[in-house]
C-alpha cells in the first residue's frame, strides 16, 4: 500500500507491503536517512527517536501506517552544518558525543522537550530524557541541554 507523509519538509510517498513495518526501517532503509538509529527494537533505549508532529517518537515501535499525512522530522532535518539547531549547537560547544551512536536520539528527544518546555529544570530533564547512552555522557548532556535552552530564541524572550 502507499503511505504519504511529509519528512524533513518534503512530501514523500512510500509503497509498502506491510503497513505495520516500523517507521524506523522505512526511514533508514527506504529513504536512506541513516541518522535515526536502531538500538533495541522495543522502544526501550531511544536511539531511534524522531519527531512526528513535533512529538518525540521511538520509531522502532511506531508502525509506518500511523505516519500517514503526518509531519516527520529526523536528525537530518533538524538542522544542518550552516544552521544547526540550538540543541546541536550546544552539543558541539560541550563536545558531548563519544561513540556517538545514541546521540541523534538524545538530540531529537531534547529538541522535542525544549519545544514544550523552553527552560527545563534538572528534574524536568531527568524525567523527560530517558534514553540510554552506554558511553554515559549524561553530565555533559545535561549541561548541553541547559545551554540549548539558553540558545533557543523563545526561552530568551521568556528569560527577559
Amino acid at each position: 500500500m502507499k503511505i504519504s507523509f511529509n519528512i524533513n519538509g518534503q512530501p514523500q510517498s512510500v509503497e509498502i507491503e506491510d503497513p505495520n513495518t516500523p517507521l524506523l526501517w522505512v526511514v533508514r532503509d527506504m529513504l536512506d536517512l541513516k541518522g535515526t538509529k536502531f538500538g533495541c527494537g522495543k522502544a526501550a533505549c531511544g536511539a531511534c527517536t524522531l519527531h512526528v508532529e513535533g512529538e518525540a517518537v521511538r520509531s522502532c515501535s511506531y508502525a509506518v501506517k500511523f505516519a500517514e499525512e503526518k509531519n516527520i522530522v529526523t536528525i537530518e532535518g533538524l538542522g544542518d552544518r550552516e544552521n544547526p539547531h540550538p540543541v546541536q549547537q550546544a552539543w558541539i560547544e560541550h563536545v558531548v558525543p563519544q561513540c556517538g551512536y545514541c546521540q541523534p536520539g538524545f538530540i531529537m528527544a531534547t529538541a522535542a522537550l525544549l519545544a514544550k518546555n523552553p527552560n527545563p529544570t534538572d528534574e524536568d530533564i531527568d524525567n523527560n530524557i530517558v534514553n540510554v547512552c552506554r558511553c554515559a555522557t549524561y553530565t555533559r548532556m545535561r549541561k548541553a541541554i541547559h545551554r540549548a535552552a539558553d540558545l533557543t530564541p523563545s526561552s530568551k524572550v521568556r528569560n527577559e
Binding site: 558541539i92 561513540c99 552506554r134 553530565t139
Partner: protein, 754 residues
C-alpha cells in the same frame, strides 16, 4: 545528504592496492625504552619508506613492529606496567597517510575509533610534527587491505600510548621529505624553508604540500628526524574539539550499522537461547514461502534467513521452528557454586612477606561479589558482507580487524589476502567487539545467495550472546599492627574467563600462563609499605562466554580491595586518606598514587564525618600505570543510593587531549556507577536474562551526579592509558560513603539496600 562514508573507504583502498616495499623493523620496546631511545637517537636512522604518485604522497611504515607473541611477554608485566607498541602484522607495505590534491592529509589509523577520542588524539600528534592544521587532517580506520591494521586489537586503552612515538616519527619524516622536495622545486636551501598549515615557505616563495607532492615519483627519504619537544606543540596537550564531533551531532552515516552495498539483502540468524544448547533440527517450510524471503540457510549450528528487507527477514525468522538439544538448564546457583574462592585453578599473582595464619583471631575477613555484566553497547553487532569470486569484503564495527579477517578467510577456505575488512566508527566497543566472529555468518550467507548481505543482532541476541564480564567472588583478609596500620592484607578472588579462551589468546595460554591476567587487573595490592600482602586468583571457565569488559577485573577487584581498606581504617580509627598515604612509598608509581590521593582529598574537601543526609566516600586505584582517586558525595532515600558529586584526580602522564581525557573520566565514572548500582545479568530457566534495556537496569540521566570535578595530574613524560583506569575507584568510593551513612558494609554488587 552525505552519502555513506564507507564508499569513501572503498575508493581509498583502490588507490593504495599497488603499494609495495620493504622495511627494517624496529624492535618492540616498552614506552619508557622508546623514550630513552629517542634521546640518544642519531638522525642517520631511516625508518620509513615512501610511495609517490600523482597528487599523493604517502609515508609507508613497513612491518613497523612485528607481531609478537603475547606469551613471550612476562604476564605480570603486561598487565601492570608495559605499554605494548603498535603490533604491526608482518612484512607488507603499509600506508599510513597521504596528502591529497586539495592539500588534506588522510591518516589511515591502525586503531579504530569507538568513542574514546583516539582519532582526535592521533590527528593532534600528526599535526604537530607534520605542520598541518588540525582541520586539514581526516582520520579513517585502516582497512585490512592497507596492511597496517593492528595485529592484536584496539583495546586496553592503549591506542594513543602505543602510537605516541611511531606516528609522530612518521609525520616528522614526511615533513622533512616535503621540505627536501620543495627545496629543489623552489630553488631555496632546505634550511631556509619553514612549514606551517601544509604550506612550505622560504625565499619569498610558497608551495602547498600538495603542489610539492604533485609530480614526484622518487622521494629522497631522510633519516628519521628527532621529535620536537612536547612543550613546543600547538595541538598536543590542548582541548581540541573531536574530529568526529560534527559528523556525530548531525547524524552522519558513519557506523557499521549504516553501511550498505549495492543490491544488498538483509539477514537474521536464529541462535540458541539456552546456555549450552546445540542445534538439532529446524522446520523452515513456513518461512521459505514468506514474502521477500530469498533463502533459508541451515548450517551445523545455526539457521539464517536472507530476505529483501530486514522486517521480512525478522518475520521469517519468527516463523522458523528450531529444535535444540539442551543438555542442562543452568541456574544462578550452579554458577555461584562453581565460582568461589577455593574452587578452580589457583594462582598466586602477588606475594610479599608472610601469609596470614588461618586461625588468627585478629584477622578481619569480608566477602565481596560482583554479578555477570553485559556490554550493552548501543550499536548492535553486525556486518555487511559480500563474497564473490573467491574474495570477501566485509564492512563492520570491530575492535579486531586483523583477527576477523583471519576468521573469515578460514571459514570460507580462502586466502587471508582475499578478505578485506573495512572498519567503520564503532557505536561503542567496551571490549564486546574483540569478538566479531559474526562476520563469518554474514560472509557465509552472502556466499550462499551470491549478493551482499547485512546481518546484525537483535537486542535479545545481543544480550544472550554477549561475551559477558564474568561474575566474581572475593575474600579480603587482613589485620592491623600495634600502631593501627595494616600488617597484612590478602585478596583472594575467583573469576570466570577474561583473557583465557578469548580470541586474543590461544587456547593453551592457560597452561603456559597459569593465570588469567585480565581477571587480574586491579587485583594486586598497590600499597607497598604493607609488610605482608598477597593476591590469589581462582579461575573457572563458566558454561557461557565471559571475556573483556571495559577495565576487565578492575571494577570488581578495586571494589573489594578499597572497601576492605576503608573498613580497616574505620577499625583503626584513622582517616581513610591518612591510612592510605601511610601505606604508600615515595618513589615512582607509589608517589604518583600518593599525589592523586592528596589532590582528590584536598579538592573535594574530604571528611569522613556525615554531614546532614550526605556522606563522602574515598577510594583509589592504579591500572596500567595510570593512578586515579575518587571522592563521592552520596545520600540515601527510600533505600536508593544517590551520587551527588564525584571528585576525580587522575594521572595519565601527558594528556594529549585534556578535554577528551576528562570525557573518559566522566564516562568511566558514570559507567561504573551504572555497573555497581544497577546492572546485573542472571540465569532464568537456563537462559541469560534480561534481554532488553530497562529490565537490564542501567544508570540514566536521572542517576548522573550533578557535578563531576576532574583534576588531571601529569606524573609521567608519556601518554598512558585513559579509557579504563578511572573505572577503578568508583564502586568502593560509593560503598565507603554508604558505610558512613548506614554503618553497614556493602559486599555484593549491584548495591541494593533494604
Amino acid at each position: 545528504m552525505s552519502r555513506n562514508n564507507t564508499y569513501l573507504v572503498y575508493t581509498i583502498l583502490h588507490l593504495n592496492n599497488s603499494t609495495s616495499a620493504a622495511f627494517q623493523p624496529l624492535n618492540k620496546r616498552s614506552a619508557s625504552t622508546i623514550q630513552k631511545m629517542n634521546k640518544n637517537k642519531k638522525t642517520s636512522r631511516r625508518k620509513f619508506l615512501v610511495r609517490g604518485g600523482l597528487g599523493t604522497l604517502g609515508v609507508l611504515a613497513i612491518g613497523t613492529y612485528v607481531f609478537r607473541n603475547p606469551l613471550r611477554r612476562k604476564t605480570l608485566s603486561i598487565a601492570e606496567t608495559l605499554i605494548p607498541p603498535y603490533n604491526g602484522s608482518g612484512t607488507k607495505a603499509n600506508l599510513w597517510f597521504e596528502i591529497t590534491k586539495d592539500n588534506q592529509v588522510l591518516l589511515h589509523s591502525s586503531k579504530v575509533e569507538m568513542g574514546q577520542g583516539t582519532f582526535t588524539g592521533l590527528a593532534q600528534m600528526v599535526a604537530d610534527e607534520l605542520d598541518v592544521a588540525i582541520e586539514q587532517i581526516q582520520v579513517i580506520g585502516a582497512a585490512s587491505a592497507t596492511g597496517i591494521v593492528d595485529g592484536l586489537s584496539t583495546g586496553g586503552s592503549l591506542s594513543i600510548a602505543s602510537l605516541w612515538v611511531p606516528l609522530r616519527e612518521m609525520a616528522a619524516t614526511m615533513r622533512e621529505m616535503v621540505k627536501g622536495e620543495a627545496a629543489k622545486k623552489m630553488g631555496v636551501a632546505k634550511s631556509d624553508l619553514t612549514t606551517k598549515d601544509g604550506v612550505v615557505s622560504g625565499g619569498g616563495k610558497t608551495m602547498t604540500y600538495a603542489e610539492v607532492a604533485a609530480d614526484v615519483t622518487e622521494w629522497d627519504v631522510p633519516g628519521t628526524p628527532d621529535l620536537r619537544p612536547v612543550s613546543s606543540y600547538k595541538f598536543v596537550g590542548k582541548p581540541i574539539p573531536r574530529v568526529d564531533l560534527v559528523a556525530k551531532v548531525f547524524g552522519d552515516p558513519i557506523f557499521g550499522m549504516d553501511a550498505e552495498m549495492p543490491d544488498m539483502l538483509h539477514a537474521c540468524v536464529i541462535r540458541p537461547e539456552h546456555i549450552g544448547a546445540t542445534f538439532k533440527s529446524a522446520d523452515t517450510s513456513k518461512a521459505e514461502g514468506m514474502n521477500g524471503v530469498v533463502k533459508v540457510i541451515e548450517t551445523e549450528d545455526w539457521v539464517g534467513v536472507v530476505a529483501k528487507t530486514f522486517s521480512q527477514a525478522l518475520a521469517a525468522k519468527r516463523a522458523i521452528k528450531v529444535t535444540w538439544d539442551i543438555p542442562r538448564k543452568w541456574t544462578e546457583s550452579d554458577i555461584r557454586e562453581m565460582l568461589q574462592v577455593g574452587k578452580g585453578d589457583r594462582m598466586i599473582t602477588q606475594k610479599v612477606g608472610n601469609e596470614l595464619e588461618p586461625e588468627d583471631a585478629n584477622v578481619v575477613s569480608i566477602e565481596f561479589s560482583s554479578p555477570i555484566g553485559a556490554h550493552a553497547q548501543m550499536e548492535p553487532n553486525g556486518a555487511v558482507a559480500h563474497v564473490a569470486d573467491g574474495k570477501a569484503t566485509i564492512i563492520l564495527s570491530t575492535q579486531v580487524v586483523g583477527i576477523t579477517q583471519k576468521q573469515v578467510a578460514k571459514a570460507l577456505g580462502i586466502d587471508t589476502a582475499d578478505v578485506n575488512i573495512i572498519p567503520t566508527y564503532l557505536g561503542g566497543g567496551f571490549g564486546r567487539r574483540l569478538n566479531t566472529s559474526h562476520a563469518v555468518m554474514a560472509a557465509k550467507m552472502s556466499k550462499e545467495v551470491g549478493k551482499p548481505v547485512k546481518y546484525f543482532f537483535t537486542r535479545k541476541e545481543e544480550f544472550q550472546n554477549d561475551t559477558f564480564r564474568p561474575p566474581t567472588h572475593h575474600i579480603m583478609r587482613g589485620k592491623l599492627n600495634e600502631d593501627g596500620f595494616l600488617d597484612s592484607v590478602e585478596h583472594h578472588y575467583a573469576s570466570g574467563d577474561v583473557a583465557i579462551n578469548s580470541v586474543l589468546m590461544p587456547g593453551f595460554a592457560h597452561t603456559v600462563l597459569g593465570t588469567d591476567f585480565g581477571a587480574m587487573r586491579g587485583a594486586n595490592i598497590m600499597y607497598e609499605k604493607i609488610p605482608n600482602h598477597r593476591s590469589v586468583q581462582w579461575h573457572t571457565t563458566l558454561p557461557f562466554a565471559t571475556s573483556w569488559w571495559r577495565s576487565l577485573g578492575l571494577l570488581a577487584n578495586t571494589f573489594a580491595i578499597e572497601s576492605f581498606i576503608d573498613e580497616m581504617a574505620i577499625k583503626a580509627g584513622k582517616s581513610p586518606v591518612d591510612f592510605r598515604l601511610a601505606m604508600l612509598g615515595t618513589e615512582g608509581n607509589q608517589a604518583r598514587i600518593r599525589k592523586v590521593i592528596e589532590v582528590a582529598a584536598e579538592k573535594s574537601g574530604y571528611t569522613d564525618q556525615v554531614k546532614g543526609d550526605k556522606a563522602m566516600g574515598f577510594a583509589a586505584s592504579i591500572d596500567t600505570g595510570s593512578p586515579c582517586a575518587q571522592v563521592v558525595e552520596v545520600s540515601i532515600a527510600d533505600n536508593k543510593i544517590k551520587v551527588h558529586k564525584v571528585t576525580c584526580a587522575f594521572d595519565c602522564g601527558i594528556a594529549v587531549n585534556p578535554d577528551q581525557v576528562r570525557a573518559q573520566c566522566e564516562g568511566s565514572i558514570m559507567m561504573g556507577i551504572s555497573g555497581v548500582l544497577h546492572e546485573k545479568m542472571t540465569l532464568k530457566d537456563g537462559q541469560l536474562y534480561p534481554t532488553i534495556y530497562g529490565p537490564y537496569e542501567m544508570a540514566l540521566m536521572r542517576d548522573a551526579p550533578s557535578e563531576i570535578d576532574i583534576h588531571l595530574i601529569q606524573g609521567a613524560e608519556v601518554p598512558l592509558p585513559v579509557g579504563e583506569p578511572p573505572l577503578g575507584p568508583i564502586g568502593a568510593a560509593i560503598g565507603n560513603a554508604v558505610r558512613r551513612l548506614t554503618g553497614k558494609r556493602v559486599g555484593d554488587l549491584p548495591m541494593r539496600l533494604g
